[in-house]
């Protein structure tokens, strides 16, 4: 299953994902008319300044088990296993902020929204763009991200790639060994490197 993966080291803090997110959750789905909507569509992804003033794309991790889901008093927060998404039912939400106290990442906001009953303040957070996914689109933040800080892929794949990248930084080139004593070792490395190059090429 593909999920949004965050690569904070690549974030340049341009905040275009926030605009894209707000637009994707507007009624008109167009940036220009979305700015005129009431209530004004708001982003579910938040760029915060991390240490040393660097940008950090902060969005719901859709944890399992999810602390917000366990803390929700009226049972408004639920999980949709098909997309590994934690969702909030705006009809049941009572705006008690118990989820704000439970979320260790601070990604839940409270405001009116065009998919909640009019005039009602409810808890709002990332929904993995499931309505976009249903028609074959990737989440809006990923589509917009220019720096590669947000990708949409199976988590295991992202982890493997990361492992390979880290391995490369530790041991970037095969070592040339002078004596013939370690030939087997050198051969093994050469095979691994060619395998890696093949994998990254496809």
């Amino acid at each position: 299953m593909k999920q949004v993966v965050v690569h904070p080291e690549k974030c340049v803090g341009c905040m275009q994902c926030m605009t894209a997110c707000a637009t994707a959750h507007s009624v008109s789905l167009s940036l220009f008319s979305a700015t005129q909507e009431k209530p004004l569509p708001k982003p579910r992804i938040h760029i915060g300044a991390s240490l040393y003033g660097r940008g950090f794309p902060n969005r719901c991790r859709h944890c399992d088990p999810a602390p917000c889901l366990l803390a929700c008093l009226p049972g408004a927060i639920y999980r949709k296993p098909a997309t590994a998404t934690v969702l909030i039912n705006p009809d049941l939400c009572i705006n008690c902020a118990s989820c704000a106290m439970a979320c260790p990442f601070g990604v839940i906001r409270y405001h009116e929204d065009n998919w909640a009953p009019p005039g009602k303040t409810v808890a709002i957070k990332c929904d993995n763009c499931i309505s976009r996914q249903a028609v074959g689109l990737v989440p809006a933040c990923v589509e917009m991200c220019k720096s590669g800080a947000l990708t949409f892929e199976p988590v295991a794949e992202a982890q493997n790639r990361k492992t390979r990248e880290i391995t490369q930084t530790i041991w970037p080139e095969p070592v040339t060994v002078a004596t013939g004593k370690f030939d087997g070792f050198e051969l093994l490395q050469a095979i691994k490197k060619s395998q890696h190059n093949l994998a990254t090429a496809c």
Partner: protein
């Protein structure tokens, strides 16, 4: 394995679900003193406020017990525990035997033993029945008196004010929620309540109630008399430990438990408001009688009862409250003893208004108060729970929150 759970609050329910998840063949018996199906206790104040009806309180579907094959005995109060025979009894009935027992009886509201305390229209506020009783002929209410400025008294007053009923609140300390906030935050809350029509009298208590069958007036400790037709008593709760043999099972204020939620007797566990375990920031036995900790303790107790050894790192007191347009979130230690090596940072912007207070020791966050802009407060709760020492730059981020 034969499991008996006393109590159908959130701790008991979570334990029953956890046991069933880990052991499909376990035999589970659950005693429920309240005959209502499992419901969300913190939401009863919303019912008083009129924001929700009682059918919105349920936290499980009506067939919950049958679905999980739990034998539930409703409206039953366990009267004794036989530690040696591993059995519980209700009055003179046949004993019910157990291999593992969970005490999750919660807590009962403290009553006021003053003249006239048994008059009609004097209510505690703990169960859905209490609120239902309050709501019968609520439209005739002319003036309500709320005793106690803790969470219950505060929520009762807020609910009645939302119904446009004039409310007088008597509190012994100088500001409401004195267990949850400090004097500055308490003052801000008090101002907001007063601005919305609440009459607050501090440093004062009721000495007697008078009336024919219903309460008509209250005599106060300063000699004055206050006319009232509803009284809500919010004088705190005490763990429901009356039936527990204290010579066998160690009981302090609540039932003492270890990190596996097990009492001094192997095979007997306790969880929720009745259990006393280590407080994460005080590092001593303490009862943090709050819903999320009760839920967590119930889960941990259930896992241990079903044979999966899991430890619970201790409880953390925390609360989040919205009062008119003021949002308040607090957690952990907020009024530490002075000169004990605590680092305290606070910041106030009275015009917004925004208030922040952080309590640290050895660069570890122990508690905080946030007034307004509380959305990301969960990160601070997490910092307290992890007890991770903060670097100078991380402290800088704290200060700008």
């Amino acid at each position: 394995m034969n499991h008996v759970i006393i109590g159908n609050g959130i701790a008991g329910i979570q334990a029953a679900e956890t046991i069933r998840y880990l052991d499909p063949t376990a035999f589970i018996t659950l005693f429920a003193a309240e005959s209502h199906p499992p419901y969300c206790r913190p939401m009863i104040s919303l019912m008083l406020e009129g924001r929700i009806s009682s059918d919105r309180l349920a936290i499980r579907n009506p067939h919950f017990y049958d679905d999980l094959q739990i034998r539930s005995i409703a409206g039953a109060y366990v009267t004794s525990i036989d530690v040696d025979a591993h059995a519980v009894t209700i009055d003179d009935h046949e004993p019910i035997f157990f291999d593992r027992l969970l005490i999750a009886t919660g807590a009962d509201p403290r009553t006021m033993k003053i003249p006239g305390h048994a008059l009609n229209n004097i209510f505690p506020m703990r169960t859905v029945s209490h609120v239902e009783n309050m709501l019968t002929d609520i439209s005739t209410a002319r003036h309500a008196l709320v005793l106690g400025g803790g969470l219950v008294g505060f929520k009762a007053a807020y609910g009645l004010m939302r119904r446009n009923i004039p409310v007088t609140m008597l509190i012994r300390s100088e500001y409401p929620l004195s267990m949850q906030v400090d004097d500055i935050a308490g003052g801000m809350i008090l101002d907001r309540l007063k601005a919305n029509g609440l009459t607050v009298r501090t440093g004062i208590d009721a000495l007697a109630f008078e009336g024919d069958s219903r309460v008509r007036e209250a005599h106060l400790s300063d000699g004055s008399v206050l006319a009232c037709d509803r009284v809500i008593v919010g004088k705190g709760v005490q763990p429901a430990v009356g039936f527990i043999p204290k010579d066998r099972i160690p009981v302090d204020l609540g039932v003492l438990v270890n990190t596996n939620m097990e009492t001094g007797i192997p095979g007997i566990y306790a969880a929720g408001d009745v259990a006393e375990c280590i407080d994460r920031v005080r590092q001593c036995p303490w009862i943090n009688a709050i819903w999320p900790e009760a839920a967590m303790q119930g889960r941990v107790a259930g896992m241990n009862m079903a044979g999966r050894t899991v430890s619970y790192p201790g409880s953390l007191g925390r609360n989040v409250i919205r009062i008119f347009d003021l949002d308040v979130m607090t957690a952990g230690l907020i009024n530490p003893e002075p000169d004990d090596g605590y680092q305290i940072y606070s910041r106030i912007e009275p015009r917004l208004p925004v208030y922040r207070k952080f309590v640290l020791k050895d660069n570890r966050l122990l508690g905080f108060i946030l007034i307004n802009r509380i959305e990301t407060g969960g990160r601070l709760v997490s910092l307290i729970q992890r007890q991770f020492p903060l670097s100078a730059s991380e402290m800088g981020i704290l200060k700008t929150l």
